[in-house]
């Protein structure tokens, strides 16, 4: 018996065939299957008993109405085999619930298979077979989308749309003329998934972005800007960034800066060149000269040292991280003041947050790269 049960038995018909094979006496019941069991009126339930919920013994018309013919057969066979099981267990089919069905099968067809999904079961066909999605088929029973059979139709349709847009552009032009490409911010994975209403893998997402990039870099990309604008927008340059920072009524410009795990909050004001960090003068706060140079580098670069008062509040990170955070904060706050500092700072890459972080420690090693001391024998 056991080797037979190793394959998963999904259908009620299989169960009935199994039962028929193991218990030949079942044929007695199958002969009566054409006539559904008569609906006898139940006697009044005994006092102090739980209210009895009547179970269905035959499929209703609503169940069969919108189903395909093979599914109708399956549903009818489900109720038939359920009634047979109830009679085998000596129970009334009208009070034989789904739990009882599972119990009966566990008793009649004991299985030692580890995976519970591999054990025999009897369920309503609507729980076993996937529901057909009506919206993806038309009146002639044909799928609507041309990429239906690829498994991820929306992704494939998007790729095809990109190809169509690509054909509108001149291929040779892209090779001969090279235009300095504007930095762009591409759509994030979550938003793209919501847009096409389908889950994407990382590879698929990267594939789409890689296909869109040459389109955006093309000299004639303005022709298809309606399409491209859905998936990318230009990164703000320093002039747009400067709008964020403004001088308050007291004459202070406020900005935040980050480096490693340090966070700095900087206030700039025109003055005599006093620098205080966490209510300490610069020289006392940073012991090393490199850190002091680092923190004041934007002012040195723009030749404004001695014209601004700096107040900063820093927390987190170590000394060099804090110095870098203050540097970013000062250079951002400088944008609020009139003048062409922006271009100088942009050229030195001082307006960008350094994305580098500490590399993680690896198991089997002492640090990120350092190995344990090891001697052969």
């Amino acid at each position: 018996m056991l080797p037979v049960l190793k394959r998963s038995i999904k259908s009620c018909r299989e169960i009935s065939s199994l039962l028929g094979a193991k218990f030949p006496s079942v044929s007695r019941f199958t002969t009566t299957e054409a006539e559904p069991p008569p609906n006898e009126e139940l006697e009044a339930p005994p006092i102090n008993a739980q209210p009895i919920v009547l179970e269905k013994t035959s499929p209703t018309e609503e169940e069969l109405k919108n189903e395909e013919p093979w599914m109708q057969e399956e549903i009818i066979a489900y109720y038939r085999s359920k009634n047979i099981l109830a009679k085998m267990m000596g129970r009334d089919p009208e009070t034989f619930s789904q739990e009882d069905v599972q119990k009966a099968i566990r008793y009649l067809l004991p299985s030692s298979l580890f995976d519970k999904k591999a054990r025999p079961f009897l369920k309503h066909p609507s729980e076993i077979y996937p529901k057909r999605i009506e919206s993806s088929f038309d009146a002639n029973n044909r799928p609507i989308e041309a990429s239906f059979y690829s498994g991820s139709p929306c992704y494939d349709a998007l790729v095809h749309k990109i190809y169509i847009e690509e054909n509108k552009l001149d291929k040779r032009k892209a090779r001969s003329e090279s235009v300095p490409s504007q930095p762009l911010k591409w759509i994030e994975k979550d938003k793209l998934q919501n847009k096409i209403e389908e889950e994407l893998t990382d590879e698929q997402y990267q594939d789409i972005i890689n296909k869109l990039k040459p389109l955006a870099a093309h000299p004639d990309s303005h022709l298809i800007s309606d399409f491209l604008d859905q998936y990318c927008k230009p990164v703000l340059d320093y002039r747009a960034k400067a709008k964020k920072y403004a001088i308050s009524k007291c004459g202070y410009a406020h900005a935040m800066g980050h480096r490693k795990t340090a966070v700095a909050e900087v206030w700039l004001k025109k003055g005599t060149g006093e620098v205080t960090i966490n209510n300490k003068p610069l020289q006392k706060y940073f012991g090393y000269i490199t850190h002091r140079q680092q923190a004041l580098y934007p002012l040195v670069l723009t030749k404004l040292l001695g014209q601004f008062d700096v107040k900063a509040r820093v927390h987190g990170g170590g000394e060099s991280g804090r110095a870098g955070a203050i540097r970013l904060g000062i250079s951002r706050a400088l944008l609020a003041f009139p003048g062409d500092h922006g271009e100088l700072l942009e050229a030195e890459n001082l307006l960008v947050r350094d994305p580098r972080r500490v590399e993680r420690k690896k198991p089997g090693q002492k640090k990120a790269r350092k190995k344990f001391a090891w001697v052969k024998r």
Partner: protein, 234 residues
């Protein structure tokens, strides 16, 4: 043993075939009966004009592989050797292609589903354009194993195509095998180094040159369009 056989009969893997029978179109063409009027059959979707030996030659359909890598099963379709390259007999090729086109046309006439399968990124755009131009379906460039045999999970449906058209044999063996399991006829461009046994309608010809593959695709596109316009006009 009888009990085992009964169980196997109703096992899910074998029962899959039953779901595939809800396909719309089933065409039956027998050539031996109509051998005298073979050319008349091919007038149906303008096939005789679409496929001629001259057009096949210009598309370089006659070029095979070097004779060292040839498959012995393809030797009946080969006319001879030239500079160590096998040359296909284009009379046979055109007959096979016409027969495959007729099948595709008849299926399209009955509103059946035709699926174009490709697994080479080189022809990705070609096959997408071909399928969408004639209102059919494509699967490119990766075939996920189990697309047909496990369609209830992969596609959430039991509705499978009525005909599968493949651009080459080598990279599509899995697709051919699955469509056989599900009782779906296949059309495949088989080069001189491929195995035509598992393919229902094998078309011997060159499957490496872009021009020949393009000719193959365009022929199917035109025939399916003609078949659909016939139905619409009626």
């Amino acid at each position: 043993m009888a009990f085992l056989r009964a169980l196997l009969k109703s096992s899910p893997a074998l029962r899959l075939c039953r779901f595939c029978t809800n396909t719309v179109a089933k065409v039956d063409i027998s050539f031996e009966e109509n051998s005298n009027t073979a050319s008349d059959i091919y007038d149906k979707f303008n096939i005789n004009e679409i496929v001629t030996v001259r057009k096949l030659f210009e598309a370089r359909m006659h070029l095979g592989h070097k004779h060292g890598v040839s498959n012995q099963l393809m030797k009946d379709y080969i006319w001879g050797l030239r500079e160590k390259i096998q040359i296909f007999d284009l009379d046979i090729t055109s007959e096979h292609l016409k027969r495959a086109l007729l099948v595709a046309g008849l299926i399209a006439e009955k509103k059946g589903v035709i699926l174009f399968v490709n697994s080479r990124s080189q022809f990705d755009r070609l096959i997408r354009d071909t399928a969408t131009d004639c209102g059919e379906y494509y699967l490119s460039p990766t075939w996920r194993p189990g697309t047909f045999t496990n369609s209830q999970v992969m596609l959430k449906t039991c509705r499978l195509p009525d005909l599968v058209v493949l651009l080459n044999w080598h990279t599509n063996v899995q697709a051919i095998r699955e469509s056989i399991m599900c009782n779906i006829p296949t059309v495949c461009l088989t080069d001189s180094d491929s195995d035509p046994r598992l393919v229902t309608y094998a078309v011997p010809g060159n499957d490496d040159t872009p021009s020949s593959v393009k000719f193959f695709c365009e022929a199917f596109r035109d025939v399916i369009r003609n078949a659909k316009s016939n139905v619409d006009s009626e």
